[in-house]
Symmetry: C2
Subunit: 123 residues, 2 copies
DNA sequence: TACGTATTTAAGCAAATACTTAAATATGTT
DNA sequence: AACATATTTAAGTATTTGCTTAAATACGTA
């Protein structure tokens, strides 16, 4: 790995920079995965959907549209992104699709939910 | 709070929907704050910057540009967003600005960093 | 089969994002 | 003061995002 240094100040620590680059390089995969999750959760509508699914266990797009006061297609398109990222999964009952959180993905999310509730208490 | 129901299926639980709406309403402030944090962290470059600041304690824009192989203005603009959101703060030493994580904001972030490292171990 | 409901998908568009390059600030050195 | 370095800011642009409306699927029922 070749360092292209633009920082010429005396204190610049090349070893440190090199070490950081190597660390990031090794962790590239983890960053991609976590960035994806956070970028999905980092949207007001989607964070609320995730929070609601955690709270109610499962909900259909129609319910979510009512609760969030949004159009069904708008909700559906948010759902699609999270389904594509395997954060949520669907169960069909007749015409209705019930969505719920994918258990594999709830570690970070649970911490986020905790923080939301904690924030509420503080505020 | 008036319910506008689009969901007409028999199983729809009005009490449940109403309850969800009220909960979201009460927590609006918390959602805004957490969404802001997550939307900032939900970007590959910014998540890496946050991770590096956590790892190295403080770094200057120039170092970050070298490590991330990006232009200095590009890094600076990411920094600005996080500074505006009070996630990071600056300390000046001569011409150099050293940025570090704002301690008030590290709860969720620390969990995220933990998850990144955990992900690395699993992968 | 025809119709109604639940949901998704597609097309179009306005707003937000993230970069680039160039110019402006701030600080330090000669 | 003149110049160099570190950083920010501004302007321009291509891409992405998140909605809207309309059309397509999927399932259930008369």
């Amino acid at each position: 790995m070749k360092l292209e240094i633009t920082c010429t100040r005396a204190e610049a620590n090349l070893k440190q920079l090199q070490n950081c680059m190597e660390t990031l390089d090794k962790m590239e995969g983890s960053f991609q995965k976590i960035t994806k999750l956070l970028s999905l959760a980092g949207n007001d509508v989607r964070l609320k959907i995730l929070f609601l699914l955690n709270k109610e266990n499962e909900l259909c797009p129609c319910d979510l549209a009512d609760i969030l006061k949004m159009s069904v297609p708008a909700v559906s398109q948010h759902i699609r992104k999270m389904k594509d990222a395997a954060i949520i999964t669907a169960r069909r009952d007749g015409q209705t699709l019930y969505y719920s959180l994918n258990e594999d993905e709830t570690d970070i999310l649970n911490n986020i939910f905790k923080s939301i509730k904690l924030e509420r208490k503080i505020a």
